[in-house]
């Protein structure tokens, strides 16, 4: 036994006993003894077991035993420092390090990989659309509620009809937001028009809320000359400057660090506005998620990071995406205030986003919202999700957990909506959509010259040359080229 033994004090004795109980110090022989009273152990036996497993995996040789000896003497030194302290607990003493003071402990404990319970999910309405007793929520007027509900229906029908149009070969691609109507509409409703949206791609309801017309949606999907994007991108890649909705791009999560930059600009201009950037559960695995949240936190930028956790990234279920308790727990890692909400509860989403917006704008800080929901539709028209998930699971969420029905029940129970209005609305929207599609289909495509503009502010010589050369080729071989694009 080393010389520390001579410095006998109760505190040291207790401490050593602790250590021996943990199986950490003492003869290597005892290492497999189960721990006795380990009152000082945080996390209980598990930590001890883990330590033991770790220790058992060490190669047992003289070097290892020496290491133990060294540890003992380090412990002793610390004990000598705190010798006069009446506490057996060393936690009072603090250390100064870059980043601030931190108290230290001689108990080696690992923070558990997860809490005992998952972070609870904030909701206002139950599954039948009834207000949960004593719940905290932001009241919504009849006008607002009816508008929200109508837009949710709009979105549902728009999705159905555009999806059918793709199936009929009239547009090349589509993806729906089925199951996420509450997220789309209620989050948008809680914002002002000055708030800037950086979408992923499953948030057309935000545009719908802001007044993007069904014709404008159709024009983009058909890539005609009325498309603001000038026919350059696939369907659903909407963008609208007048609605403060940045153009969608396919790469996942790239919008998140951009959101931090945009929010920083708002901050510099002292605008009473924030940025809301959307991301799916899959997108949170991207490096840009980490970059975006960290930058927003450090720059104290007013961004709301809204994560639609719908359980699936194409065919990849959340269990294959991360091992954390969803996304809400990640906020703390960046020093970001976070909340988990029921994404299928329009009032909960509305309330949470309203509160988040206020904090973001008034306190100039980022907020993370994780909205739990379910992707009822396939990933896109290029996907058949029955190949990787159960049909009855899909049906369950489509019917029993439908956010539109749920909100409808609440709106109707307030006497603000009727079955008749429902029928009228649905048939009216459907009619408008079919008309919009017809018009969009007949509208001319953008002229060929638009292929060469906007690469730069002005076309450089190489593009001028290429356009000239291409036009010569077209005149020689017109049959190679689609006839609906004006040359």
């Amino acid at each position: 036994m080393a010389n520390w033994v001579r410095i006998s004090s109760r505190s040291i004795g207790n401490h050593i006993r602790k250590r021996m109980n943990q199986g950490f110090i003492g003869s290597a022989v005892d290492i497999n003894k189960s721990s006795g009273s380990s009152s000082a152990l945080h996390g209980g036996r598990t930590v001890c077991d883990r330590n033991r497993r770790y220790l058992n995996s060490l190669p047992w040789n003289r070097a290892t035993l020496f290491w133990f000896q060294r540890f003992k003497s380090t412990v002793a030194e610390k004990q000598q420092d705190s010798f006069l302290s009446s506490d057996t607990d060393d936690d009072q003493l603090s250390l100064d390090f870059p980043g601030g003071k931190v108290s230290y402990t001689s108990d080696m404990n690992f923070i558990s990989e997860s809490s005992q319970t998952r972070v609870p999910c904030y909701r206002v309405l139950d599954d039948d659309g009834e207000l949960i007793k004593d719940t905290d929520f932001q009241q919504v007027s009849k006008e607002a509620a009816v508008k929200m509900y109508s837009k949710m229906v709009n979105l549902q029908i728009m999705d159905t009809i555009f999806y059918e149009a793709q199936r009929q070969g009239r547009i090349s691609f589509y993806l729906t937001s089925a199951g996420e109507e509450a997220i789309n509409i209620a989050s948008a409703a809680a914002l002002t028009e000055q708030d800037i949206i950086l979408p992923q791609y499953r948030e057309p309801g935000v545009l719908l809320w802001r007044g993007f017309t069904l014709q404008e949606f159709a024009d983009q999907c058909f890539g005609n000359k009325a498309d603001y994007g000038k026919g350059r991108q696939m369907p659903i890649h909407y963008g609208s400057k007048k609605h403060n909705f940045f153009t969608i791009s396919s790469p996942i999560a790239t919008q998140l660090p951009q959101a931090a930059g945009i929010a920083y600009s708002l901050k510099m201009d002292n605008k009473k506005a924030c940025v809301v950037s959307y991301i799916g559960d899959g997108g949170t695995s991207e490096g840009d998620f980490h970059a975006g949240l960290n930058f927003a936190a450090v720059m104290e930028a007013p961004v709301i990071f809204f994560c639609r956790n719908n359980g699936w990234a194409i065919s990849t279920n959340v269990w294959e995406q991360f091992r954390s308790d969803g996304i809400v727990v990640k906020g703390r890692a960046y020093g970001i205030r976070s909340i988990r909400v029921d994404g299928n509860d329009a009032l909960a989403v509305y309330t949470a986003v309203s509160a988040a917006r206020e904090m973001a704008v008034n306190e100039q800080r980022p907020i993370l919202i994780e909205a739990l929901t379910y992707r009822v539709g396939h990933h896109s028209t290029s996907d058949d999700s029955t190949k990787y998930r159960q049909s009855d699971e899909i049906v369950y969420w489509k019917n029993a957990r439908n956010p539109v029905n749920r909100f409808r029940n609440w709106v109707q129970s307030n006497g603000w909506w009727s079955d008749q209005q429902e029928t009228q609305l649905r048939s009216s929207v459907r009619k408008q959509l079919l008309e919009a599609i017809q018009v969009a289909e007949k509208t001319e495509k953008p002229p060929l010259s638009e292929m060469f503009t906007d690469v730069y502010d002005y076309p450089p010589p190489n593009l001028e040359e290429q356009e000239k050369h291409l036009r010569e080729t077209i005149s020689r071989h017109p049959a190679d080229y689609p006839s609906d694009i004006p040359v």
């Binding site: 350059r232 600009s265 970059a291 930058f295």
Partner: protein, 356 residues
């Protein structure tokens, strides 16, 4: 401009004398000029940029105290921490953040500490910045974004402090790539890049940060992008290069002169969109081309220039297009002298081309 060759030995003044032969137009008024080095010239450009535009920002790793190459000295003190600030260590974040700032009409001047570390930002540069205007139908743009990064050999940099990654970026429609050869060029070009309404990647030859010293006008001036400059006139062969390599090429030209070979030397300055017209006019005059760059020869930007010249000037060419470039290896440490396209390698190639 005082230079040292790769062994650190001081070599003759080249580019200063030949400025008189420059055919480039620039709006450099005759005013006071001071003899300063490259990092000071960059620093001056940044001071001017922030002074003249209240919506200009400078950010990146370690820029606040002045930067690892002192290019950002004095900016934080003068313009404040809200406009000049350190970012977390995350290149994709730096560029993504910069794109967002620029999209709101600001001039976002992002620094990547070494060009060797620009790759995490490649997605943001290629898929986002380069396509921002086009994909939105010109509703949005991030033209105010300028990304600056030190590039190139430094004598002891090895794999990760010596790279010349310009070729990767030259393959991306929608951005511009600009590389200055000297302090005076750097200040004027950087100001043009910052003010250009397109996202630009600006590579600064770190080798020249301290070693290149030149008279640089103290006022605000800009040099045009996408205009190559004939910095030495000649009639037997056209040499094309950019950045630090030009001074090596110029030494080769001077020696070739002694053997009666008249070399025309062109500084491309902007790699995309590049000034094909100036290069073509020169090739029509000389009938011979040699391109030199530090980056590995295969797939380097010299290949693009070579292919273009052959397309336009095949019948005029008296010899194959020569390329004297870095080798196809990761940039080595002790083998750097062997890797580099040296004056003598260039001279040998000049002679071989002329004697073809």
């Amino acid at each position: 401009m005082a230079l040292r060759n790769i062994m650190g030995k001081r070599v003759g003044i080249g580019l200063m004398g030949s400025r008189a032969l420059s055919t480039a137009t620039c709006d450099v008024e005759s005013g006071s000029a001071k003899s300063i080095n490259l990092y000071s010239a960059i620093n001056q450009a940044l001071h001017v940029a922030l002074e003249t535009d209240p919506r200009a920002f400078v950010f990146g790793e370690d820029v606040s105290f002045g930067g690892v190459f002192r290019c950002t000295t004095g900016l934080a003190d003068r313009f404040g921490k809200a406009r000049v600030f350190n970012t977390p260590l995350c290149e994709q974040g730096i560029v993504g953040f910069g794109i967002g700032l620029a999209a709101m009409g600001n001039r976002a001047i992002a620094e990547i500490q070494f060009a060797d570390y620009i790759y995490p930002a490649f997605d943001q540069i290629v898929n986002e910045a380069a396509k921002f205007r086009y994909r939105s139908g010109n509703q949005f743009n991030c033209g105010g974004l300028t990304i600056r990064a030190p590039y190139g050999a430094v004598g002891h940099g090895g794999h990760y402090h010596s790279q010349s990654p310009e070729a990767f970026f030259c393959h991306v429609p929608g951005i511009k790539v600009v590389i200055p050869r000297s302090p005076r060029q750097a200040k004027g070009l950087l100001l043009s890049c910052i003010r250009d309404p397109n996202p630009v990647v600006f590579f600064e030859p770190k080798w020249l940060y301290r070693l290149a010293v030149e008279e640089v006008p103290e006022h605000d001036y800009m040099l045009p992008l996408s205009e190559a400059e004939v910095i030495r006139q000649g009639s037997d062969i056209t040499l094309v290069g950019w950045g630090a390599q030009l001074s090596i090429m110029e030494q080769a030209c001077i020696e070739a002169e002694k053997d009666g070979i008249s070399c025309e030397l062109i500084d491309l300055k902007t790699l995309i969109p590049w000034d094909k017209e100036t290069v073509e006019a020169s090739v029509r005059k000389t009938g011979r081309v040699l391109i030199s760059h530090e980056a590995p020869v295969t797939g380097g930007f010299g290949a693009e220039i070579s292919a273009s010249i052959v397309e336009c000037c095949f019948l005029r060419l008296e010899a194959p297009v020569a390329r004297v470039c870095g080798l196809d290896t990761p940039f080595p440490l002790v083998f750097e002298p062997f890797y580099m396209p040296t004056k003598n390698k260039i001279l040998d190639a000049i002679k071989a081309t002329v004697n073809y």
